[in-house]
């Protein structure tokens, strides 16, 4: 294949990665932005989303479309419920202390991973894609489902943006993000906002996982790479900045995809880490960061 079509293929692969990464990183960024919590268990929520998606599809045994749609609804809700429990039972009791919650979410990551290993097992298992068609380009055919993943990610991100900027719940979240004490003085139920944001962040990771599981297969360690890349994206974008997160996800996702196709996935991670270091030297608060962590 010539360089041009090969580059186009690599870019499309990168765009799919960026779409899923943007959703996952958006969840991490929201949790950090509003709660000031570095959620190390975010990758575990991603993995849990994929495994539950497989379980729903396998249990239901219906056609690919119905199974996938059921997974797309049930999996994020289930992961959100686990996140609410974790927030109530662990984070709230630690008074959302930044240092303690890092340790606690590391523990949560291990617990979720080990429970997944004990119940789901070490195997990688696929979910059948809900649609099976190829978009035929002049040089190659490309999976229609992967293009659907990109579109779905854009729709979800636009919905999140709309929710944050155009609804009362979004206003409460933003007020809590900027000054939680003053938010309380205006009857904003900060504890409930925290619970909701933590659950919503986990649900975004789960949606990303459900979208990716027909491409990648569900595995109990599959959350580690998305966690690492999400941290890179959130740091580059500026901690707590949503538009920075989306832009950084596109940059990192595309470069990761393109470099992985042309060279190797390992080199892609090395370059992404170098990009983080360089950006932090030039802009210590990231591309759109307004405050230090």
């Amino acid at each position: 294949m010539d360089f041009g079509p090969y580059f186009l293929l690599a870019t499309l692969e990168g765009a799919v990665g960026a779409a899923v990464l943007a959703l996952t990183a958006l969840g991490l960024s929201l949790v950090f932005g509003v709660m000031r919590i570095v959620n190390v268990a975010h990758g575990a929520f991603f993995m849990l989303g994929a495994i539950i998606a497989w379980w729903v599809a396998d249990t239901l045994g219906a056609g690919p479309m119905l199974s996938f749609l059921a997974a797309l609804i049930i999996s994020p809700l289930a992961v959100g419920a686990v996140a609410v429990l974790a927030e109530r039972l662990i984070l709230r009791r630690l008074n959302y202390n930044p240092e303690s919650t890092i340790v606690a979410t590391i523990g949560l990551l291990y617990v979720i991973e080990q429970v997944a290993l004990m119940t789901y097992g070490p195997d990688a298992r696929p979910v059948v894609a809900p649609i099976d068609f190829r978009v035929q380009l002049p040089w190659f055919g490309y999976s229609g489902y992967k293009l659907l993943v990109i579109a779905a990610s854009i729709v979800v991100m636009l919905a999140v943006w709309w929710g944050l900027t155009r609804t009362r719940i979004g206003l409460m979240m933003r007020a809590t993000q900027f000054d939680s004490e003053t938010a309380r003085a205006f009857a904003i139920p900060v504890d409930r906002v925290y619970g909701g944001v933590f659950a919503f962040g986990a649900m975004l990771a789960a949606i990303g996982a459900v979208l990716v599981v027909p491409i990648q297969q569900a595995h109990y360690l599959m959350g580690n790479d998305p966690l690492l890349l999400s941290f890179i994206v959130v740091i580059i974008g500026g901690l707590g900045s949503l538009r920075g997160t989306v832009l950084a996800a596109v940059i990192i996702g595309l470069s990761d995809g393109i470099i992985s196709v042309f060279f190797s996935p390992t080199l892609a991670k090395i370059i992404a880490t170098l990009v983080v270091a360089m950006i932090l030297v030039i802009r210590p608060k990231g591309l759109f960061g307004t405050q230090s962590a």
Binding site: F178, E181, A183, R184, A185, A187, V190
Partner: protein, 233 residues
């Protein structure tokens, strides 16, 4: 209307309020005075539930809000203008007002009524709050609190760092609210401002509420100012 009864508050192991009490009445202005670090700001925060008293009661309309979540104070009609304004500076003026309106489900009529106090804000509803001048920010902080239709208004040093014309405007607004029956609790350092506006003055010393005196009497007793504030008058 609002009574604080023997509350004790701590920051960690440090006690900042000791058996602190006060009473605010409808249509009267109570000024709280004391040296820096005396506990004035903590007293307001404890009324709002932002610093939770370990003992004592904060009663409004027969309800002890010290025993409830912090969100209950505004729902019971207590408006708060914190020291340093504490606006949501990344949000617009309109969003800041909306947050005040949401606290008690007030409608746009309340917003319009509030903006009548501060017409300058009407033209800046889409502007980010952090880009306003200091005086406009203070107007917004007060307007935000008025949006929840308070029956009790807590103001923590609202004139700090403002030019005289703005101080006069804020004084007029506070007097207007008083005439509408709002109970005002004002923490203020400037003695001249206090003597102009207050009905009663509560002195705070080392976290304890001391004497409450009529402002009228205070004008004739400079020794009390000297005793609590360390100044002649």
């Amino acid at each position: 209307m609002l009574t604080v009864e023997n509350i004790n508050c701590f920051y960690g192991h440090t006690q900042v309020l000791r058996d602190f009490s006060l009473a605010a009445e409808a249509g009267r202005i109570l000024c709280v005075m004391g040296r820096n670090g005396a506990g004035k700001t903590t007293a307001l925060k404890s009324i709002m539930g932002l610093v939770r008293p370990r003992s004592g009661r904060v009663m409004i309309d027969g309800v002890d809000i010290a025993a409830l979540q912090a969100e209950e104070a505004p729902r019971h009609g207590i408006g708060y203008v914190p020291q340093g304004r504490r606006l949501f500076s990344e949000l617009t003026v309109g969003d800041n007002l909306e947050i005040g309106l949401m606290a008690r489900g007030s409608g746009d009529d309340v917003k319009e009524h509030t903006l009548d106090f501060f017409p300058a804000l009407r033209e800046r509803l889409d502007q980010r709050a952090g880009t306003l001048s200091g005086g406009e920010q203070q107007m917004l902080a007060i307007a935000r609190a008025l949006c929840l239709e308070p029956t009790v208004l807590l103001l923590d040093e609202p004139t700090e760092g403002l030019m005289p014309s703005m101080i006069a405007r804020i004084r007029d607004v506070v007097l207007e609210l008083k005439s509408q029956g709002v109970a005002v609790i004002l923490v203020e350092q400037r003695v001249d401002a206090v003597l102009q506006i207050a009905d009663r003055v509560l002195f705070v010393e080392n976290g304890r509420s001391r004497d409450t005196v009529e402002a009228e009497a205070l004008r004739d007793s400079p020794d009390m100012l000297d005793r609590y504030l360390g100044m002649g008058h």
